[in-house]
Symmetry: C2
């Protein structure tokens, strides 16, 4: 049984964290610099943005994770350190070195992440100055300070931790992430940091991470933009004392199941707190021939600006759902499709086997006005299901992004 | 020389048009039903939506154009007649038959187009009732009534006509289109109707149409949604008396050049009047290895929600341009790229060979506040250029689409 617990990235044995306000971006009053540390060296893995234009932190962290080892994470908000040329590369390295010095570990065992505006040089002096205090303050309750430091336009922090039994030992996994904008499906994720005390080889850790993101972080979209900085990393320090997972056995399967559970919760949290979002839209496509096909269709629906705007207006404009499925590139038979809106307030069937239904508009309004709405699409062509998560397109999304830089 | 003239779809010899208010959608006060007629039978060609979910009118018109012949166009706004099942198919056919009867031509020589809300049955009786009067009123100045009838959320009509000499004869091409929303690059277009008195075979007409859309209608995006109804058709009645174009000779090249010119103007008009738009964004990518690559990059930039929102705020957030290029799937060297904003108010260079510049923010604000802004990207990798057109993402886009159906 996989049980949800408190503590975020500090929930696993041996991990501490902290966050401080370093003053990276003028005017910020929340923390902007986060540190995560494991008292034992970790096996580590990461998934990164597929964007050709990569932030300097991404380039450095990919390099540092090549040996499958790491022991600490330094992450800032307020500046993406992307499109910053040679100076940006030097600054990313200085960030790793400053963290390494404060933690007394090797600088290539540091994971570096940045998020914020693209194309401005980062205030590296502020980061270097803040690091000794940041490291001194590391604690088992520091997840609260750390999770705040990675928030940009996020309105709530995103954090989950779970525990489960593995061969008689209790294993923990914790995670925190930032979300909000420049989020799309063709990515690793935005910034997401996972920790675990599970004993697992670097190779199996990497494999588990890649398995879990396909149906979780890769199934969310806020605005169709894949950022330059997307990074998802996991550190495993083995302190739970379980028999190390070195092959795809039953323990591996359970570990992946736990990752899926934790990352599904995080995916929902990120979509629900998309920039300006008032509604979480969950699209479930069932009756597909393959899981991949179902996911492509579900992602196309939740990525459509017109579907998103209709949800903002609580308008049961289901034709846009069919339209978005139609341009997804996946094959299906429109004449077989059924569409239903559902949540705790009720269920409204609007389209049945290719024919529009006369549905109760008042009831639809009540369902669609809720914070969370599920779009259920049945293709009636197979037995596979895929789910994707998005949010509505609101005035506030436009407002936030019309004046983000200044 | 290709000269711009008045008259829209009625500019070519032998073409008349009209528009009336048939009452297809309750509350509309503008015309909603348009008719175009050629006194002589025409060679005809069409390009249609690539959306798997196709409107009933699209299915019928594709069928009717298979023989490369047509003589009239009937088009309505207020209802897309898409996702309407068998009854919708019957209604599209009744629309063709009613127009054919009023024009005294064969029903398979009628091009049928619909635009509006998806998933509701069309008021076919209103259309049938209006058709005799609509046909009686056909005239050489009826382009004004017709161009109004195809507008949905458009704030201005889109119409262009040109004339040029071909072998000593004056040839005319006219066009009208609706634009505004559910517009994206992977399409034929929205509804667009072209007429010409040029003598040209069906085969060459089809070829010319496909050649011209790649760099015009297929290079615009308003919101990333490809509609179920996109249709671009052209009717050529040969009345200009030029030697019929039956091969890809110099006359063909000139005809394609005229099509390119007219459709570039229309593409700009459609992007500038995108739903809620306050700015026309033209992205020119030069120094590319191929035209296709340049276009893919330009399209990715003008399709980005974050770039669009930044333009709404007149914010020189050029990092988002690099980001959008980076996830386009095209290869380029970020370290070589330069980015400039330019228009009649001035030129501001913001990124030069991979390095951010300290630019004058006040001057940038002045340039970006203008109605039309050009983003000039230089890849420095080749000699090819591609252009795409889009618009900003505004509160009004969200407002219009949050409550479109009701």
């Amino acid at each position: 049984m996989i049980k949800q617990i408190e503590g975020g990235v500090c929930a696993p044995l041996g991990f501490t964290a902290n966050g401080v306000l370093a003053g990276i971006k003028a005017g910020r009053t929340k923390n902007d610099l986060a540190l995560i540390y494991s008292e034992k060296p970790c096996n580590a893995a990461g998934v990164f943005t597929k964007n050709l234009v990569k932030a300097e932190a991404v380039k450095l962290t990919r390099q540092n994770l090549k040996n499958g080892k790491a022991q600490g994470v330094i992450a800032n908000s307020g500046n993406a350190n992307a499109c910053t040329g040679e100076q940006g590369a030097k600054n990313a390295l200085r960030m790793a070195q400053a963290a390494a010095k404060a933690l007394n570990i090797a600088s290539d065992d540091v994971i570096v992440c940045s998020t914020g505006v693209i194309g401005q040089q980062i205030n590296i002096e502020a980061i270097e100055k803040a690091l000794p205090n940041l490291a001194d303050g590391l604690s088992k309750t520091g997840n609260a300070a750390a999770r705040e430091a990675i928030m940009t336009t996020d309105t709530v922090y995103k954090e989950v931790a779970v525990e489960f039994e593995l061969g008689g030992k209790t294993v923990h996994i914790g995670t925190m992430a930032k979300g909000s904008g420049m989020i799309h499906i063709n990515m690793g994720t935005m910034l997401s940091f996972m920790t675990t005390d599970c004993a697992i080889s670097s190779e199996m850790l990497d494999s588990a991470l890649r398995e879990t993101i396909e149906g979780t972080y890769n199934c969310i979209s806020v605005d169709g933009d894949t950022s330059t900085n997307d990074t998802l990393t996991i550190l495993a320090n083995g302190m739970a004392g379980n028999a190390e997972i070195t092959e795809k056995n039953a323990d591996y399967a359970l570990f992946v199941e736990a990752l899926n559970q934790i990352n599904t919760m995080m995916a929902r949290k990120i979509a629900a707190d998309g920039e300006g979002a008032e509604h979480l839209i969950e699209c479930v496509v069932k009756g597909a021939k393959t899981v991949e096909s179902a996911r492509v269709l579900a992602k196309s629906v939740i990525s459509s600006s017109l579907v998103k705007a209709a949800f903002f207006g609580a308008d049961a404009n289901w034709g846009r759902i069919l339209c978005a499925m139609g341009y997804s590139g996946e094959l299906f038979t429109p004449e077989k499709v059924s569409v239903t809106f559902t949540n705790s307030k009720g269920t409204v069937e609007v389209f049945k086997n290719g024919v529009p239904l006369n549905f109760d508009e008042d009831k639809a309004k009540i369902v669609l006005t809720e914070k969370e709405v599920q779009i259920l699409v049945d293709l009636e062509e197979g037995n596979c299901t895929g789910t994707a998560w998005g949010c509505d397109l609101t005035y506030n999304y436009v407002k936030i992004n019309g004046d983000y830089r200044t």
